[in-house]
């Protein structure tokens, strides 16, 4: 029996059934993004707090749009304009938000574990929109949806993740998710960003420090964003990174012919990825963005709308309910 999730804090603790359910629920919402009138009444009267304690544009807009398209009102909270700057603790900040009675909170925070910390103190659902270097579960889910669509199924692919794995929450969520579906995952990047212990994070992981070896036979290539603010730790010249690890057209030819390329964005063209690859046929980068909306709508529908798992799907309703 599938249990409704109280929160979405990470992928690690989800099982295959739960993941598949979320992906299936996102399916009609994918289709919905093509409707001329993109507004449902499903969450009308509900309020979603969107609390970003760390700057972000894409994920924030994606969640805000997802909430709006479900008919919910949003309460935006951003660290730059907040009382955090005045020294308020996280507990006090989220309790203040909670006192305004939102029905759920989407949060991003630079501290790993902050969403779990908040979830244990509030009675409303918490959706993790990225915490520190821990997890970014909605990214993992939207990547999975993209792979499933493009490749026809999610199970059993050879996946290569390229970049700064150590500091990547995107990598962690993807590793947890894909390994649950039998992927053989290769982690590749500069040695100091791919610590050996990472191989034990999930089953069927392997570490490779050579991009040619890592790409050989790959079905899916995930390119991580080089966080330029991390290049100083340790100091690594961009040229070094490009020489060793940039995904170029030539290198991509080592992967399978039908391999797809994912990137969580925003891309540093010419650094971690060559423009020709980013814009090439194998790239699924823009689908990822659209799928992000579908995944986030599905999650808000279930967590904030408290929809039972067997409820009829709102995107199947007529969509002239716009208000």
């Amino acid at each position: 029996m599938l249990q409704r999730l109280p929160h979405l804090l990470g992928i690690e603790d989800l099982n295959r059934e739960q993941i598949t359910f979320i992906l299936d629920q996102a399916k009609p919402f994918q289709e919905f993004q093509r409707y001329p009138l993109k507004k449902l009444a499903t969450l009308r009267g509900k309020t979603v707090a969107i609390a970003f304690f760390e700057p972000s544009t894409r994920t924030r807009i994606s969640f805000a749009t997802a909430a709006a398209r479900l008919g919910a009102d949003t309460m935006a909270f951003q660290a730059e304009s907040s009382s955090l700057k005045k020294g308020e603790s996280l507990v006090d900040t989220v309790r203040t938000l909670e006192a305004m009675r939102p029905d759920g909170i989407v949060m991003r925070h630079s501290s790993s574990g902050a969403p779990e910390f908040v979830a244990s103190r509030l009675d409303i659902p918490v959706l993790n929109a990225g915490d520190g270097t821990h997890e970014h579960p909605t990214q993992g889910l939207l990547d999975a949806l993209t792979i499933r669509d493009r490749k026809g199924k999610l199970e059993g692919w050879n996946v290569t993740i390229l970049g700064d794995i150590l500091h990547s929450r995107v990598a962690r969520s993807n590793i947890h998710l894909l390994s649950k579906f039998g992927a053989q995952i290769t982690l590749c990047g500069p040695a100091m960003w791919v610590p050996r212990e990472l191989e034990n994070l999930a089953p069927n992981l392997r570490r490779s420090l050579h991009v040619e070896e890592a790409l050989d036979g790959a079905d899916v290539v995930m390119v991580l964003r080089v966080q330029t603010e991390r290049l100083h730790e340790p100091a690594l010249a961009p040229e070094e990174y490009i020489q060793g690890y940039q995904l170029t057209s030539a290198r991509l030819r080592l992967a399978r012919e039908d391999a797809i390329v994912l990137h969580p964005g925003p891309m540093n063209r010419g650094l971690e990825i060559e423009s020709a690859v980013a814009d090439g046929e194998q790239s699924a980068v823009l689908e990822q963005v659209t799928n992000g909306l579908a995944i986030r709508m599905a999650l808000l529908y279930h967590l904030v709308g408290a929809a039972p798992v067997d409820a009829p799907h709102p995107a199947k309703e007529r969509t002239n309910a716009s208000d």
Binding site: L90, G132, T133
Partner: protein, 421 residues
Amino acid sequence: MLLIKNGRVLDPAANTDEVRDVLLHGELISGVGANLSGDGAEIFDASGMIVAPGFIDLHCHLREPGQELSETIETGTRSAARGGFTAVCCMPNTQPVNDNASVTRGIVERAAASGSVRVWPIGAASMGSKGEALAEIAAMKSAGIVAVSDDGKPVANSRLMRQVMDYCDSLGLPVIDHCEDASLFAGGVMREGLQSLKLGLKGIPAQCESICVGRDVAVAQLTGARLHIAHMSTRGSLDYVRWAKKQGLRVTCEVTPHHFTLTDEDVRYDTRYKMNPPLASREDREALIEGLADGSIDAIATDHAPHHAASKDVEFDRAPFGIIGFETALALGLTELVIEGRVSLMRLVELFTTGPARVLGMERKISPGEPADLTIFSTEHEWTYNAADSPSKSRNTPFDGRSFRGAPMATIVAGRVVYRR
């Protein structure tokens, strides 16, 4: 007069383990033997209990002066008494730092006025523990310090460390170092390993500690001074200490109950598991237990580090390091070491008494003429630790709610019962 009847007297100094009576007269022990009669003495029936020399804690933070929201000498020593400690050594990282005689005197006076147990201050090694100029060590010694340490801010400069050791040796004081290499520490919040990778928390490699232990051992070799390694947590560090001892260097070390009980696998997003040094690997824990058993480790010390609730109720990476530890130390020793069959009861008592005493250049024994400091405990008493009942001002402990077999039953300082269960 107080007559402790029929207790099992365990005295590591004399290696005695016999049922005996102990008679206390004023602040001293006046007799030890079978069927002692103390005319008019108050009787304490210790049948079925262990009577040990008074426990010494080499490492704690009492937060006074300056951080009284977290702890005071009064509340901290009451908690210490509940844990069976008769003397506690408080680290100098107060506000202001205990780097001069007037702060030391203030602590000694507050302890005399409000302390339940003896308070032996540890002075800073450098001014403000900034690692630049020597603190007023000789003056602090006259005021009552028993050792020197820049705990929490290890002396990074090897030349200064050499000077501290030379100078302290001339004054007969041990130098205690919190070993940590600042550049390897690099803002880490837990032990580096699979768990830190999983949680996405910045890791501190084990070598962050051992590299500094190695350096300190080399400086101890250079100076011949007494060096004591605080809250040692890794196998690598222990290897250096073993080597030093083999060379005949005057190097000692201590381990905390949480490091011989928990590992990094226990860490969650719960700031009660955040301490420095961080909880180490399973292999490290195993090595520490071996060291406690075979004598390479000299003492168990709590590193009692109170933090008021609000300061710990934050994101993991923003919380201060440290947990409280007086009241669970003995019970953890009994549970994790003695009941598990890893360490004998006599050896455990040694780690709380003669072991730490030797580090400070003192003796600890149960014989006539000695100070009447005794710890009476049970190895059978079953109880559940409830941090909310603690006299400490802080509650930051991962052992809240844990059930134990074995507990302090009475703590006697200078002939006075300061705690009785």
